[in-house]
Amino acid sequence: MSLVILDAMKAGNGISDKLKEELRRNDKEFSYFELRDMNIMPCRSCGACGFISPGKCAVKDDAHEILGAIARGTTVIMLTPVRFGGYTSDLKKAVDKFMSLGLPTYIVKQGHLLHPVRYGSKAIIGVGVHEGISKDQEDCFNKLVEHNAFNLQSEYRTLFLNTSSGMENIQKEISSLLREVC
């Protein structure tokens, strides 16, 4: 069991530290990426990751480190503030590079055309942080995580952390999530 944490939270948010604390307390093996400080360039749709350098983005940036960890790992936890019912750009800059986790060929699964996965399926966990959001925003976030997981032919789970509920409750929620997914 190896966890990959993609942390798109702002500095000093408190939740990131709680998550790391819980992981260490439970003696979990994990790779942790603080995305705000990482140099991840946009996908330019050059197609190189398909056939020129299969499975590897031609852009030399920090995404390779993340993709290597995901390839070796079993579970990806994406921690992000909920923005417009989805991910912040800091998380999305990493998620856009998931393209190279798939093959450039096609399969049909559950009535959909998909790319086969290069490294097998993973568990995808989306953790949305907010100060109070609508059901509509929650549904949209759930759908986005579900679609990401479906593309990776993986199971998924979402968790919402309301910052106004207090750090003690947040810690309990994180602890319970880790018990469930690890």
């Binding site: 946009p42 398909g50 350098s53 417009f84 093959l103 096609y106 055309l113 759908k143």
Partner: protein
């Protein structure tokens, strides 16, 4: 219906791709009915080639904004989200009350895959006090590969009709009618997905041979 100003945001990193081709058609249709329209490339803002203050000025001058974007990992590319975050944080006054619509396109035929992209734009409109005018989804954008609608025969005519119908409402400040989406939807029976996958895989093999690299299943990060 005339004298409206429309700002089209090409949300693709490609300036000659399908999103840009769609933007071009929407621009032409808007201009043909007496409106003005302009296309800007979001990637230029991200790369610093387009001055954000100038973009802010454009937002002020226009009545309706459109995000026309490809699907990357199930929603807009990250630089589009970066751009919307920047607009929401820095241009809220300029955005309030203006119209917004979205056009999403992806390589897969199933347009339900585009729902999160449209939803993210709708929730951006809600957060910034814009008037949401609806979204359109096109599945099979990869096959178009940036071709101009006038070069696509019947398919191009049908897509153009869908955009025309959508614009009729958008320019009146009304939501896109469902018929516009019907015109854009290619109904491929699910029964044909397997033969389609086989056809695409055959093309993939040809492309791999052309690139001189048949080992496209490499687990490069485990080597």
């Amino acid at each position: 219906m005339n004298n409206k100003r429309l700002l089209l945001l090409n949300g693709s990193s490609r300036k000659k791709g399908t999103s840009c081709s769609f933007s071009r058609t929407i621009k032409q249709l808007a201009e043909a009915s007496g409106n003005t329209a302009e296309i800007i490339h979001v990637i230029d803002c991200y790369d610093g080639r387009e001055d954000f203050d100038a973009v802010k000025g454009l937002i002020s001058q226009n009545d309706i904004i459109a995000m026309v974007a490809p699907l990357y990992a199930d929603t807009m590319p990250f630089f589009d989200i970066w751009f919307l975050e920047k607009l929401a944080d820095e241009c809220r006054n300029e955005l309030k009350g203006k119209g917004l619509f979205a056009v999403g396109q992806c390589g897969f035929p199933d347009i339900t895959r585009i729902e999160p992209l449209i939803d993210n734009c709708r929730l951006f409109a809600e957060e910034t006090g814009m008037n949401w005018l609806g979204g359109l989804a096109y599945g099979g954008g990869g096959i178009i590969n940036g071709a101009l609608m006038e070069d696509l025969g019947k398919k191009g005519e049908r897509i153009t009709s869908g955009f025309r119908l959508a614009l009729d409402n958008i320019l009146k400040g009304e939501e896109i009618p469902s018929r516009a989406q019907e015109l854009l939807t290619i109904n491929i029976p699910k029964l044909l997905y397997r033969p389609l996958a086989a056809y695409l895989n055959n093309n993939a093999k040809k492309e791999a041979r052309k690139a001189g690299n048949m080992d496209y299943e490499r687990k490069v990060y485990l080597e």
